[in-house]
């Protein structure tokens, strides 16, 4: 069985640069803490928007971080699960995908029409260099399995590519829907039926 990384991240990029500035995300995340908008034991909001292409604005929770992430020059919603991952890779990926999707949709609702995510593509980061060194052999070992898992989420085939080939960088994959048509409610429905999430 493929090992579960110690931490796992899922990021959805925005389709285009929004009018909303990173500074505007701070009060949104702070309100999310008050209103428990997203799951988890929400702790604090950190502002890193001053660093280039960094994590931007981060809502820190005990088990996960939700970031309005500016990495790679693409603003997006990055969910990183830090603890309590299920003990199978399919379940771990589905769990993170579900929470990332939920947070991204909640963020879209804060600025309808301005914050628009590209849900047809997701980046999966394996924050665990012990189990997932960024090597071709690791990619070869998990590519098909990840493609199957993500295709199961979308209900359609996906293409999985390696994000970069620098062995120092985190092992990360991008999954893109081959057919761009998606139905988010159906995806959410499929995810909520997953035993590890329910």
């Amino acid at each position: 069985m493929t090992k579960v990384p110690k931490r796992l991240g899922v990021k959805f990029n925005l389709k285009q640069t929004p009018q909303l500035q990173p500074a505007d995300i701070l009060p949104i995340f702070q309100r999310w803490i008050q209103e428990h908008t997203v799951p988890g034991m929400l702790i604090d909001v950190i502002d890193y928007k001053h660093v280039l292409e960094g994590p931007g604005v981060v809502l820190v929770a005990d088990e996960a971080d939700y970031a309005y992430d500016l990495g790679e020059g693409h603003p997006g919603l990055h969910y990183v699960r830090k603890r309590d991952l299920p003990d199978s890779l399919p379940a771990a990926i589905r769990l993170c995908f579900q929470h990332a999707l939920q947070a991204a949709r909640a963020l879209e609702a804060e600025a309808p029409g301005d914050l628009v995510f590209d849900f047809a593509s997701a980046k999966f980061s394996f924050l665990d260099r012990m189990r997932y060194r960024n090597r071709p052999s690791i990619f070869a070992a998990v590519q098909a399995e990840v493609a199957d898992i993500v295709a199961g989420i979308y209900g359609a085939p996906v293409e999985v590519t390696r994000v970069n080939d620098d062995p120092r960088r985190l092992f990360a994959l991008r999954a893109r829907l081959r057919d761009g048509q998606i139905n988010l409610d159906e995806i959410a429905g499929r995810l909520s039926c997953s035993p590890e999430i329910a």
Binding site: Q30, M41, D44, D47, L52, V60, R168
Partner: protein, 748 residues
């Protein structure tokens, strides 16, 4: 491979690995409730593992204080410090010197454990925030594999030893202090004489008297490079300062010795440490820094005590052995030095060159400062900076006390291309060392003691100043601003031209974040003088206050009059009058924005302030050392569980010796590490005198130690391993009981 411990076992120096194993065992003991929480807190602090805001399980969300229900709610890693709460890992970078490989490892760790962000501190450390304590042993192992330790990065210990980031390339230095800072780091790390302080102890080196870089006058121990003719020979040495420090009550250091030679440097430092350990305050941590002892005794009496102590400092070949390797401390530039060749310069280069480039003493080379906003950089920037370093300067990377990167030994001809490369990763902002390059402590973002948002204010001032930097007169452009989130001075506000520290005031039924304005501190001459607080203003008024101050300074200053002199001439009374309009507080209804801090939409509260761990708990030397014995005993148990009986015996024996040593050190600090000496001293002081005797078992438990010490077992099997582990447990309990009988106190 299943763990970092296994994977890196051949790359970690044995002693470093052993200390990390002990720490990991202590974590397990604490989780099981078998190690006192105060003792564990001090142990983890001495590994650089620090608490963070909200780790008491409470946070005000702007409406109400909410309980943070962490999963391991009933387990604490220190008093009022919940196990699962995110914490900070401080990582010592002696004199700020980094290799490209080390930078890559730090970046990897940030990727995995701290959200991809690293922070440069005002004492040349790296800090990772939001780290879970369970990740810290592996984090330390990965650092140890590239020669970095977190040992004694916090707690009541010798903190990171700092030095000028220009050391070795400076035009004005007497000599390069880097190898001396390195030697002192090696000498003091884990030294017996620095384990029993009532508070932290900070050391700094500076190569010259005039510039700021080393800041020796604000340190517990400051070493200023000097040379002197002795018997017709030019000798290197240092002027030694003691008792400086900022904090709530800043003290200027006093001269302990005008000149000590290289041979005298380490023994003198050891003598200072021994006097501080013996006579420094232990109960009241607010008066436990060396500065209070020097002030209480007076520098003359303190000097006499140190001189007396010097006579009984045990001989140690390390006192002078480091001198043999001074010549080996050479820099390897990546390229030959070459002058700028007239090639076309990129846009923005001229401004950057003016503020960020220092022409080295070595022709054809420059040192460049990377203006690092708020001291933060990403893991991705770290990787790319390591590539840039390899391409242009090799391992010549330093961190500065102004929270910046410094790259040394850049061939001048490469300046345009390195500028382009740095610009591509967001590290080519101009203005290093100017008014936009503001120093800030973490403040309310992560510090338990923070009262106001120093980082929020710094970010705001920085944004506003960058917009108009090119319009500012030189006199303003070159001013230093430093911001602390409270009165404890981690942002070094006392030594800035314009400093701010956080406090709060009431307006109606609400609290309002404020900053006290501190004017006229001196950064130059190694933090030559401290500024004076002139009044508190609302946090949201600080940008206007800054503008008013600088505009008036430009308008009224005499030609070439610096800011310190202008402030002095103006006088505190007139400054108060100038600040008066800004001190008027709006009501909440009039201007609710004044009741939120910078970068925080919550209505301001100080309910989140916790108990700081800056000093750690004052825990007795015995408690610290016996906990090492207990952890080693625990490792013996783990080895027994693994079926590794020889290792179990080894750890059990070592645990007994460590326990004996802990007791011996309550009477004889200099017992050292030799097992024979420890056992002999233990026998004569506690066994022959029957002080160790149990009421019923008499000397039986001590004889377990003697028996094992006198003869290693011919054959180690499971039964034997069980037996010696049980005997070790009994002996440790016996030592605990004896210590209570003899000294009456265990913790605190």
């Amino acid at each position: 491979m299943t763990s970092w411990k296994e994977l890196l076992k051949d790359e970690i120096p044995a002693e470093m690995g052993n200390l990390i194993d002990i720490y990991e065992a202590q974590m397990e003991l604490r989780k099981q409730g078998k190690l006192d929480e105060k003792v564990f807190a001090e142990s983890r602090l001495r590994k650089g593992v620090y608490g963070q805001r909200y780790d008491n399980g409470q946070r005000h969300d702007g409406v109400q204080t909410r309980e943070l229900t962490f999963p391991s709610a009933d387990i604490v890693k220190g008093p009022d410090t919940l196990w699962d709460a995110p914490g900070m890992q401080r990582i010592k970078i002696p004199y700020g010197g980094l290799t490209a490989e080390q930078l890559e490892t730090l970046s990897e760790l940030a990727d995995e454990y701290s959200g991809g962000i690293l922070h440069i501190t005002t004492r040349q450390d790296i800090q990772l925030h939001y780290v879970h304590i369970d990740d810290t042993p592996d984090l330390m192992r990965r650092l140890a594999a590239v020669g970095i330790t977190t040992q004694e990065a916090c707690g009541n210990s010798v903190r990171n030893i700092t030095a000028c980031s220009l050391a070795g390339v400076c035009h004005d230095e007497v000599f390069d202090v880097s190898p001396y800072a390195d030697a002192m780091t090696q000498f003091l790390l884990g030294h017996d004489d620095v384990q029993d302080f009532g508070r932290k102890f900070k050391v700094a080196f500076s190569g010259c008297a005039g510039h700021a870089c080393g800041l020796v006058k604000m340190h517990d121990l400051g070493l200023l490079a000097q040379s002197r003719e002795i018997n017709g020979e030019t000798r290197r040495g240092f002027t030694v300062f003691v008792g400086g420090g900022l904090g709530t009550v800043p003290h200027q250091a006093k001269v302990l010795a005008d000149f000590v030679t290289e041979e005298e440097l380490l023994p003198l430092t050891q003598a200072v440490a021994r006097v501080f350990a013996r006579l420094g305050e232990k109960k009241n941590r607010n008066r436990a820094r060396l500065k209070f002892l020097v002030a209480k005794l007076g520098i003359d009496e303190f000097r006499e005590l140190v001189q007396e102590e010097l006579k009984i400092v045990p001989p140690d070949e390390r006192h002078t052995a480091y001198m043999d390797s001074l010549g080996a401390f050479v820099y390897q530039p990546a390229k030959a030095g070459m002058a700028l060749n007239g090639a076309a310069l990129p846009a923005g280069f001229a401004d950057w060159y003016r503020s960020n480039v220092y022409r080295q003493a070595q022709p054809g080379y420059s040192t460049i400062t990377l203006h690092t906003p708020l001291g933060d950089f990403t893991a991705e920037q770290g990787f790319q900076l390591a590539d840039i370093a390899r391409r242009y300067v090799g391992d010549n990377i330093r961190l500065s006390v102004e929270q910046n990167f410094v790259l040394r030994w850049v061939a001048d001809a490469d300046l345009p291309s390195i500028y382009r490369d740095l610009d591509a990763i967001g590290l080519a902002d101009s203005g290093a060392g100017t008014i936009v390059d503001i120093t800030s402590c973490p403040g309310t973002d992560t510090c338990k003691l923070g009262i106001a948002s120093s980082r929020g204010l710094t970010a705001e001032l920085r944004t506003r100043l960058i917009e108009k930097i090119n319009l500012l007169p030189d006199a303003v452009r070159d001013l230093k601003i430093k911001v602390s989130g409270c009165f404890n001075s981690c942002g070094q506000h006392h030594v800035a031209d314009i400093g701010f520290f956080g406090n709060s005031r009431r307006s109606g039924n609400h609290k309002m974040p404020h900053f006290q304005v501190v004017l006229g501190g001196q950064w130059q001459e190694n933090a030559g003088s401290y500024g004076l607080a002139v009044g508190a203003v609302p946090a949201k008024s600080v940008p206007d206050v800054l503008e008013a101050l600088t505009e008036r300074y430009v308008a009224e200053r005499a030609a070439d009059e610096n800011f310190q002199t202008w402030v002095k001439e103006l006088g505190r009374k007139e400054i108060k009058v100038m600040l008066q309009p800004f001190t008027k507080l709006p009501s909440f209804e009039e201007n609710p924005a004044f009741f939120s801090d910078w970068g925080d939409s919550r209505v301001y509260t100080i309910d989140d302030i916790g108990v700081g761990e800056c000093a750690g708990e004052v825990v007795s030397l015995f408690s610290m050392e016996i906990s090492r014995a207990e952890s080693t005993h625990f490792e013996a148990l783990l080895a027994l569980d693994d079926g590794d009986f020889a290792t179990a015996d080894h750890h059990a024996y070592k645990a007994m010796v460590l326990a004996a040593r802990a007791l011996v050190r309550t009477k004889y600090l200099d017992v050292g590490d030799d097992y024979n000496v420890i056992v002999q001293e233990f026998r004569s002081r506690f066994y022959d005198t029957e002080l160790i005797y149990d009421r019923f078992a008499k000397g039986k438990f001590a004889r377990y130690l003697f028996k094992r010490h006198e003869a290693a077992p011919a054959r180690v099997n499971e039964d034997y391993a069980h037996q010696i582990i049980d005997e070790t447990q009994l002996f440790i309990e016996n030592v605990h009981s004896a210590e209570q009988r003899i000294n009456g106190v265990i913790v605190g």
